[in-house]
């Protein structure tokens, strides 16, 4: 390629450079700035230190997101495996079926669970109706506004993000490798632990990331299905910026966001250590 066209190609990044500098880099710099200053703009550590008050919120958020991620992984792996072993034509249909709910609006999907889990909702009405046939009085399950409901909402909303990357790596595994392992005397468990699992690590890692990050930072699921009983870190951040139930304080909100961002970067750094191929496949400074 001659020099002239190289210059042209460089120039093509100009809109991107300007746009990302103004709307990605500067905002993150502002988050840093706000996190370390007070309302008058003078330097302070008090915002960062005040986060100690919210340590239990961070812990609850991480706990719920962790449980949801593990459940997603356990649910997704067998399904992804069985799809990857189907005929090509069926695979396409199944992938479409996995993706279809994702195209539904996130709020609507979560809202639908409210309908089902409520005290006067579908499950309770059905169970009560069934038991009353035998003359039993039943008060109904308390499902909505519990941590269980929040986890269910997370699993439901993010499950496809776990299925798809695992499915993608599993389709790339050569089936003859599995047959070879079996011919050489490996049992089902060995085939899984020695052949399938090691080769599906990249898919599992991107699945975990794609489920854990939105789950740990959500504020909608906890609002709709947790009924405001459990505050997650996303709820606290939302409150500091929009002040729906408390005072608006961008400085503390920025500090909370900063800590969340750093926590996620650290956990992704740890995750990527498990993925030996990460260095060759991705190009990133992080």
């Amino acid at each position: 390629m001659n020099k002239n066209s190289k210059g042209l190609q460089r120039a093509m990044t100009a809109p991107f450079t300007v746009w990302m500098a103004i709307f990605i880099i500067i905002p993150i710099a502002l988050v840093l700035f706000y996190a370390f200053t007070d309302a008058n703009g003078s330097f302070t550590f008090s915002n960062i230190l005040s986060i100690w008050e919210y340590r239990s919120t961070y812990i609850v958020s991480i706990e719920l997101a962790f449980v949801a991620t593990v459940i997603c992984l356990l649910l997704a792996y067998p399904l992804a495996y069985s799809i990857s072993r189907m005929k090509a034509r069926h695979q396409q249909t199944m992938v479409l079926l996995v993706m279809l709910p994702m195209w539904m609006n996130f709020l609507i999907r979560t809202y639908a669970w409210m309908t089902i889990l409520e005290d006067t909702g579908l499950i309770n009405t059905l169970v009560k109706g069934f038991l009353s046939l035998f003359g039993y009085e039943f008060e109904g399950f308390a499902m909505i506004n519990t941590n269980g409901a929040i986890i269910l909402g997370m699993v439901y909303n993010f499950l496809p993000y776990m299925i798809l990357p695992i499915y993608t790596v599993l389709t790339k595994i050569d089936h003859s490798v599995i047959e070879a392992a079996r011919d050489l005397g490996a049992n089902g468990l060995h085939v899984f632990t020695k052949v399938l699992l090691p080769q599906s690590v990249p898919g599992i890692i991107s699945g975990i990331t794609m489920v854990f990050v939105p789950a740990v930072s959500t504020f909608i699921i906890s609002k709709l299905l947790g009924g405001g009983m459990t505050y997650l870190i996303g709820d606290i951040i939302e409150n500091y910026f929009l002040g729906n139930t408390g005072e608006v304080n961008y400085n503390v909100g920025a500090a909370l966001s900063l800590v969340l961002m750093v926590l996620i970067l650290i956990s992704m750094g740890i995750m990527n250590r498990f993925d030996k191929d990460a260095e060759t496949s991705g190009g990133g400074l992080f």
Binding site: K6, I24, S82, L107, G234
Partner: protein, 267 residues
Amino acid sequence: MKYVSRFYNFIVFAFLYSPIVVMIVYSFNGIKSRSVFEGFSLQWYKELFNDAVIMKSLYVSLLIAVLAAVISTVIGTLAAVGINSMKGFRKKLYLSVNNIPMVNPEIVTAVSMMILFVFIISKSNTLEMGFGTLLISHITFCIPYVTLEVLPKIRGMDNNIYNAALDLGCPPAKAFLKVVIPQIKPGIVTGFIMAFTLSLDDFIISYFNSGSTVQTLSVTIFSMTKKPYSPKINALSTLLFVTILILLVSVNLKQMRDDAKKKGAKK
């Protein structure tokens, strides 16, 4: 074993689809209840179309999605061409910046942009949060997806054709339009569709950056979830679901037909 795995798949899909089925069934409910179904009726659909707030926010959502998709596709495609020609540290830097909105939790991206907008607005008297800030924020989170969608297509492109065009005296800009763009078109189209759907589906970024004057459909749905139950939401969801279903199925059928044609041609 086969039956066990089939049964398992059925259970997972039942889990994925049961809320959607429930939503659809209750959209035809004759009474305003989430649990009791009494008589088939279309009244909620009628109310939906007469709801000015919902219709207005649907219009805003579609307009934002089209504009954000067009602009982010242009910026992202150009960026992908440029990034592809880079090497070493510079390339890593650009890819990392591109990754920031994808790696960061959405709420952090949302509040960071909100801080910027509020900061700028506080310095001026005329500006306010609204359509402009909403559009900017949508373009921003769509760009990285377009870039990553187009980049592999450029990498896989045969550069000799482009160079041949230049050698034959074609100006670089024209060669880009006539030679490069057609070769990477599939990536551009996928990027555009992704940007469009991401924008249409977004709630978190819109919630923080739309101000109080403009509402996207997601924001309207959110405010409806806080009010007493109305099956209008179900009617709206049903219509959205059917639209998506038709779109996806037709795209896939077309793809299958194209694949079949290719196979036929090879024979």
